[in-house]
């Protein structure tokens, strides 16, 4: 008798709970909380139009930093030579290469989030694919700046391009640097196209809702998209081809970047696991950057709290945790195999990493990349809180920058010729590095007011496909196949 009563009571509670669940679902998930299409379009347009004085102050400060850090310093370096930078013998590659690898890493998460989640039809991706793809393109621009700054004679850098010339001189296809250039160019072009394709319907939407120069701007970019059945079919085809094709490109880019090091004979560089290790490292820093960008966009732009919700931070937080674990695996694998190899120079180098003058950086890297993400991201409440994941993302990026710094200048400080051992002290690399960072933020800020940062049509499509359905007492989230 008592058992029966209890059962009835549980059922009652459950039914009430379900009612509550439905509310909860709507509040929590963007896909289940639809707004009328026109209203959503207006919200996105409004977020583009709204700029406070703070925006312009930050914009002006960043412009000054870019002018000083990037253009003035680089110009000075071109005129005076690389002597004003800190690179020396034996550290021929310094912060320029660190920044190149770092920015390529940042650019990886954009594609990772957008293409892989699109291919796997992960529904939470819908509102933030564009924010991530923009990072890819703008990150690659900074990587390009960093690699060209690094060159001794940048004015002849076109020699690295395979162009027909009367002397029949071609780039050396044995060199990983040639492959690097080809891979990065391919990635920049394909990721820009991949950014542009899903943007077309939103540009058309913006064209229909704007006047003046903006209308001309959107009209030109929207390529006359009207939204006919045929246009949509073509767009979907192109997008699915790109989403699948860009994933191997993405993996190849950072693998090739890792060959710059892995194909060399330096102790600490010549490691066969560098390919996947670098790819995972790139995703690690890239995910951190995506979550930072989303937290800033959500906090500073109008109407973004509707589109970017704690559920998205939660989902990316989970990915970050998994990638942090994968990175830890590759790091220790790399370390163990090198240590086990028993080469005396490698042993010396590993010892130098931990206990040399920059040993603090090695420990900071492990704390920022492994300890802090593992300590914070396991908790759903913490990883759904924007400011917490912002800090975690920031620390991961600092940690990943340290990792590249350890691999490049610190590992170069010692080599097989002890007579040449010397430490590295950055010079003009610092303003140039700050300049690339400022330029990245500046480009992003400009883009956030020029193109719709939220792919509205994708959100609308997702909201139409999602439904809460009741089966008996259970409330279930259903999705109908759209694509």
């Amino acid at each position: 008798m008592a058992g029966y009563n209890k059962k009835a009571e549980t059922a009652h509670v459950k039914a009430e709970h379900n009612q509550h669940d439905e509310e909860h679902f709507r509040e929590k998930h963007l896909m289940l909380d639809p707004l009328p299409r026109g209203q959503m379009n207006d919200m996105v347009m409004e977020s583009m139009y709204t700029t406070s004085w703070k925006f312009w102050v930050v914009f002006a400060i960043l412009s000054v930093i870019v002018a000083w850090g990037l253009f003035y310093s680089w110009g000075r370096m071109i005129l005076e030579g690389l002597g004003i930078a800190g690179v020396n013998r034996p550290v021929y590659w310094g912060i320029f290469l660190v920044n190149t690898v770092f920015w390529i890493g940042i650019s990886h998460a954009g594609t990772f989030i957008s293409a892989i989640l699109r291919v796997f039809k992960a529904e939470f991706r819908r509102p933030f694919t564009r924010a991530a793809e923009l990072m890819t393109t703008f990150g690659l621009v900074q990587a390009g700046f960093s690699i060209f700054m690094h060159m001794g004679r940048v004015w002849v850098s076109y020699w690295l391009m395979p162009y027909p010339n009367e002397r029949m001189l071609w780039p050396n296809l044995h060199s990983p640097l040639t492959w690097d250039l080809l891979a990065i160019t391919t990635y920049l072009l394909s990721s820009t196209m991949y950014l542009f394709l899903p943007l077309i319907p939103d540009l058309a939407m913006a064209r229909d809702r704007s006047t003046g120069w903006r209308r001309t701007f959107y009209k030109t970019l929207a390529l006359g998209f009207r939204g006919t059945e045929g246009e949509w079919a073509h767009l979907r085809n192109a997008m699915s081809i790109f989403a699948f094709a860009i994933i191997p490109v993405m993996f190849s880019v950072h693998t090739i970047v890792s060959w710059d090091f892995a194909a060399a004979t330096r102790p600490g560089w010549n490691s066969s696991i560098f390919g996947p290790y670098f790819v995972v490292g790139a995703l690690h820093s890239g995910m951190g950057a995506v979550i930072m960008v989303l937290a800033i966009v959500r906090g500073t732009m109008k109407n973004m709290k509707y589109f970017i919700r704690p559920e998205h931070f939660d989902a990316i937080g989970k990915l970050m945790l998994i990638i942090s674990m994968t990175w830890a695996y590759f790091f220790f694998n790399d370390y163990m195999v090198q240590w086990y190899g028993g080469d005396k120079w490698t042993h010396m180098l590993l010892h130098f990493h931990e206990s040399g003058p920059m040993g603090w950086m090695w420990f900071a890297m492990l704390i920022f990349n492994i300890a802090i993400p593992w300590a914070v991201l396991w908790n759903q409440k913490w990883r759904s809180t924007p400011w917490i994941v912002f800090i975690v993302g920031l620390l991961i990026n600092v940690g990943m920058w340290f990792e590249r710094y350890i691999i490049i200048p610190i590992s170069l400080s010692i080599n097989r010729m002890p007579f040449t051992w010397r430490l590295y002290h950055p010079g003009v690399e610092i303003p140039l590095g700050i300049g690339t960072l400022a330029f990245f933020i500046l480009l992003y800020m400009a883009a956030s007011r020029l193109i719709p940062l939220i792919p509205v049509w994708e959100v609308e499509e997702g909201q139409m496909a999602h439904e809460l359905k009741k089966f008996g007492r259970e409330t279930v989230v259903t999705v109908s196949e759209l694509e």
Partner: protein
């Protein structure tokens, strides 16, 4: 017209014999740096000045490395070690250059640096296990009388370009041209590199290693315990060192 891009096909291991080579007797070396000065004069190497030199940017195609054994107070100096480009048969600097600025010459079997093709990625210098390459970090000025000292046979390099020891290739060519005009072969000892010429202790000997009668080959046979640096990397260096003999 298609051009064949031939990568130097060198056989690994014992079978490899280079063309021009050098033996350096470390027991004879007094560390007087005459070779360093002579090399700088011969090859128009820039003087970088005190500040840059202190920061590890001094440009030398040859340097005298000094090491010691033990810890204070029982410190024992080891023989001086002149270090220059080893003119590897399978050089690690060559495949990594994206612009073909560092290449292997078929005629001389030397590693050449094509200054006006160099774009300054500095990958070759990173990948050189001997760390013997020098980079022009700036356009270094030559104070007035020194500008009259430049060797007309050697290119003057500008900023942003990598450079390194060439085994005084201008002297090799001069001797070959002379011999050709006189209708004979180059005789062993007819010419030598600037460093070998300047060495007061005759610690450096330069010549044909593929000729068993040349002085370098004879010295190598007499000593019998020559060492090639970092041979385990498979770079097939053409410089042999003698020590403790």
């Amino acid at each position: 017209m298609a051009i064949e891009l031939k990568v130097s096909e060198v056989k690994m291991g014992e079978a490899y014999v280079g063309k021009w080579g050098m033996v350096i007797d470390q027991d004879m070396c007094t560390g007087c740096q005459a070779c360093v000065a002579a090399c700088a004069m011969e090859n128009n190497i820039s003087f970088v000045g005190e500040t840059d030199s202190g920061y590890g940017r001094s440009m030398h195609w040859i340097r005298i490395e000094r090491f010691w054994e033990g810890s204070y107070p029982e410190v024992k100096m080891t023989p001086n070690q002149p270090m220059l480009c080893q003119q590897c048969g399978a050089a690690t600097c060559e495949p990594v250059c994206p612009a073909f600025a560092t290449v292997h010459s078929q005629a001389e079997q030397l590693n050449l640096q094509v200054y006006n093709r160099c774009v300054g990625t500095r990958y070759c210098a990173n990948n050189c296990p001997y760390q013997v390459r020098s980079f022009n970090w700036r356009d270094y000025k030559r104070p007035e009388p020194l500008s009259n000292q430049l060797n007309p046979d050697v290119t003057v390099r500008r900023r942003g370009v990598m450079e390194k020891c060439t085994f005084c290739i201008q002297r090799i060519h001069k001797a070959q041209d002379m011999a050709k005009s006189e209708g004979r072969e180059v005789v062993d000892g007819e010419f030598t590199t600037a460093c070998a010429q300047a060495c007061p202790a005759s610690a450096i000997t330069f010549g044909r290693v593929d000729n068993p009668d040349s002085l370098v080959s004879q010295l190598a046979r007499v000593h019998g315990h020559g060492v090639k640096h970092l041979e385990e990397l498979g770079t097939l260096p053409n410089v042999t060192y003698f020590k403790g003999g």
